[in-house]
Symmetry: C2
Subunit: 209 residues, 2 copies
């Protein structure tokens, strides 16, 4: 496990390492050099070696990295060896899309329920996952502890929802609401999704070809 | 405009610069140092200076950067000074969520239509945007040129859709399908969205607190 200070930028690179290593393993590749891995990840070989060193590196000088071993090591760093229990707040188009996203199940994320305040949605289900009344959030969490909440509410409702989650002991939030959320607990982790970022990478490339 | 080789990693940092600068401008901040900008972006000041230099930097030693000027400069690099006309292939939960995403309109992205093959969806509308029969894709694009296509189809249907887009002259694709797409034209740009990546940043933080 990585010890000491790890930069936010290095943490954000890890999921791409995991994805590439999973693809390589699926393709039957057993070892890979930092140069080849760097080409796939658009990073320099020295950046690759430094990152893998940071995250409890394995591999010997001149021998390359063992794909399977490194994938498992990074998956462990990413907390993917545990099952995560999620609730989704907001059963609109984003909440529904997250509930249906096929790879989450495969990666050990289990959605217990969606919550909404609209009478037309409460009592329905999304791919078999129940949509419950958001008024019952605390009661539900008391009986079915979740460790991650997905915030897929309008910006105006997100802050109040975060406060309720914090009081219910859910302290990891994956936030899709375009809001700068405030919270008190130092245990609370909020990761904001900026969907436009990758669209802007596309328009950058269009503008520069 | 940036000239010469710009790394993929540097391009991927740009949208976050743009976002932070827009927030700063909204908050009435006129100038910012590389140190302060670095703190907001989780980057070292020297990385910030190097990036801004690459992208046609403005700002003088010791004076900081002009927030408004730098934001406009980076927006231009990102191709955000042009209007982009999008079509969305797939009117399922992801296609619908993209069509409804509120910030795209603000940022100059206009969705012309969604396309689907399901008779229950064709002829409906999402927030006023028509859902058309995917069989009519070529005819529509002939009359209403689009410069970006959003692929929100199942993995199995994505490759064939990409081929049809390529033949219709749409050569920028924002791909949500979990598929490794192949294409022939060197003009084609495909950016893949990996929604799980930011969720894994969250589980990393949960595993390390």
């Amino acid at each position: 496990m990585a010890t000491g200070y790890v930069s936010e930028a290095a943490i954000r690179r890890l999921p791409a390492y995991y994805r590439q290593l999973r693809e390589l393993e699926k393709a039957g590749v057993e070892t890979i050099s930092s140069k080849e891995l760097g080409e796939r990840l658009h990073q320099t070989p020295s950046q690759i070696r430094q990152d893998i060193n940071t995250f409890g590196g394995i591999g010997r000088q001149g021998c390359g990295y063992q794909v399977k071993e490194l994938k498992e090591r990074i998956g462990e760093e990413l907390g993917l060896n545990a099952e995560h229990r999620m609730v989704i707040l907001g059963a609109g188009s984003i909440g529904t899309a997250v509930a249906r996203y096929p790879t989450f199940q495969r990666e050990g994320f289990r959605t217990l329920a969606l919550f909404d305040s609209a009478p037309s949605k409460v009592g329905t289900a999304v791919d078999g996952i129940p949509v419950l009344d958001i008024a019952d959030l605390e009661t539900f969490l008391g009986e079915h502890p979740a460790d991650i909440a997905v915030l897929a509410l309008p910006a105006g409702a997100a802050q109040e929802a975060l406060r309720r989650l914090e009081e219910s002991g859910v302290n990891a939030v994956w936030n899709f609401a375009p809001a700068d959320l405030q919270y008190e607990s130092s245990r609370m982790e909020v990761v904001n999704v900026h969907l436009s970022d990758s669209l802007q990478v596309l328009t950058y490339k269009m503008a520069h070809r």
